[in-house]
Subunit: 361 residues, 2 copies
């Protein structure tokens, strides 16, 4: 695949300018850009600037409100429900995470369920806001249904990721961010481009049969929950995806299950809408609400060192700590730039032309 | 396997009497028995009365304190750390869950990390205490290391289960309770008894090679994280098990990773002990800290009905809701009794003889 490298700052300025052109305040545009490009920095290319035109199409379809009044509509000392006012999830989620952090400062933990939002990019970006406060951070979101639960032909859940981050001392933070499916859609897209088939346990066809066709999703098939099939624990992946749906949408009043609006603006909205927009769930736990932060971080260092020192299977150098690959990628990309496929570059050039902004500065 | 059925009440009276014989108060003995037998009722035979003699051996080895002074050693309005004083986890966990529930009543949510405890039976029993208060319940525990993380030969984590329960309206509650491995050890034991091999992705041998030998754990092998291998997402199961370890032990000051004490009393304690006993994590979220409980439960009913109505793959009657099989089992066993293998019956008869209690009343 032909591709070019772009410095982070150039992509940042461009993306911020686009968000401002659709009407976002300068501050919201900056927040949205930081959220979106955190995916490119961390190597989650499917969730980064490649999706910018998709967000703009949602704005065109009047499904994204560029000037949302995001607000807390219900709260207790440790909880809140946030109404995202159809804003970009890239802006709504950091708002909600900040509410969770403020509550954690006061009563030890904060838990915020969000309704009436849109896609929020990568979960890790929002959860990691907790780290600078010596808090454990949690982020989840539901998404439009692409996943068939165990025994189901119908797609009933999104890839519904769970992210949990914990601070360490001299070691880097623990950052686990995982879709509750065997593999995320982005990995299938890589196989499609290379004309390769998918491993067993990733997808099923439109009738619910096992399949290794990496194009199955476009043919009416479904992603499979983590585990793949019943024998390998797919009911567990299904349960985890369901938990994310309950926390993100049933607690907040967002849409859930097969009724979550799709990301592509050209897809029709579900006929039934039991709630508002899509839902997220953000949490923050102050470490020193449990024990002194220095003690905890020392234990985390010891824990991490233990895992890094474990004996590896043949052919592998080291047991990885969740977050290792993404952190290493970020270091590389901050210096060497972010590689974009030519199709993505063309897409951005079209946006540039349309909003009359220079893409290559 | 030859087996007999026993009425729940008879097993209850017997088990309570045994716990009283080792010195538990009548109230603690009742709590421990209710926790332990909830596993037998729900069909999780590996975690029920079959383990009673194992708990007694831990008491003999002075690793279980029959008269613990369980107490909160640190707290904020929404959090607490509980010291289990080496008590039975079967008693310590319900204590900690009650603390979480009381905090949720006052500030919306309650989160309790527990140190210095022992095995707590099944997570679902403790999490389900939240349901009668219209709360979401959460329970996790770490356990001695039987699981090799992705790329590791060494066993670094326990089967570290995650349980999340949510109340519904006219539908039964949602009860997800899952070990973060492809399969729990109990399932391997069933295969061993039948002389069957294990599916790929359940275990690896002592050198870290793929294996289908259901006896692999006894030969130095390891269980595999949910996902089985890297290609099928084992790094996600590993991350989930790690999260349970962090919440249960790093937040509380319990032992973690490969340093968690083993359940069988005949196994040596780990040489290094970075904390105290094993750790649990209990949480409670008041539903109406987010939205009116009746609204939430109505949405849960709609959600559950949607999943039950999904089209099924060939050969399956219905998409199940997490908790369905265990609830159905409980109904059957409350009327027909609890089937025990003859080896378990003999084990209980030995206990009866030793403590001079009639086993068959």
């Amino acid at each position: 695949m032909p591709e070019q490298n772009f410095p982070y700052q150039r992509l940042f300025d461009f993306t911020q300018a686009i968000f401002e052109k659709i009407g976002c305040s300068s501050s919201d545009a900056k927040t949205a850009t930081t959220s979106l490009l955190s995916a490119d920095l961390r190597g989650i290319d499917s969730h980064g600037v490649a999706r910018l035109s998709g967000y703009i199409r949602l704005w065109e379809a009047q499904r994204v409100n560029a000037k949302p009044v995001i607000k807390v509509i219900h709260e207790t000392p440790s909880t809140a429900v946030v109404d995202g006012d159809k804003g970009l999830g890239l802006v709504v989620a950091p708002f909600a995470m900040q509410v969770a952090i403020e509550k954690a400062k006061r009563v030890g933990t904060g838990w915020v369920s969000v309704q009436n939002s849109n896609h929020f990019g990568i979960a890790a970006h929002h959860a990691m806001m907790a780290l600078q406060h010596d808090m454990i951070g949690i982020a989840m979101t539901n998404a439009s249904a692409t996943v068939a639960p165990t025994f189901s032909v119908d797609k009933m859940l999104g890839t519904n990721p769970i992210c949990v981050v914990a601070p360490a001392g001299h070691q880097p933070a623990f950052v686990a961010d995982l879709a509750t499916t065997t593999a995320a859609n982005g990995k299938l897209e890589i196989l499609q481009r290379k004309n390769l088939s998918a491993p067993a346990g990733w997808v099923q066809d439109a009738k619910g049969n096992n399949s290794t066709d990496s194009n199955e999703l476009k043919k009416g098939g479904a992603l499979l929950p983590l585990g793949g099939d019943r024998e390998h624990g797919s009911h567990k992946g299904y349960a985890l995806g369901a938990i994310v749906d309950i926390f993100s949408a049933l607690l907040s009043g967002a849409n859930y299950a097969p009724w979550v609006p799709p990301f592509p603006a050209y897809l029709a909205m579900p006929e039934q809408q039991p709630g508002k927009g899509i839902g997220h769930f953000l949490g923050a736990m102050r470490v020193d609400a449990f024990r002194p932060a220095e003690e905890f971080k020392k234990s985390m260092d010891h824990w991490i060192h233990g895992f890094r020192s474990a004996k590896t299977v043949a052919g592998e150098k080291q047991v990885l700590i969740p977050g290792d690959p993404e952190r290493e990628m970020e270091t590389i990309r901050l210096t060497k730039g972010i590689p974009l496929l030519n199709t993505v570059v063309k897409d951005l050039e079209t946006l540039a032309g349309r909003f009359n902004i220079p893409f290559i500065g």
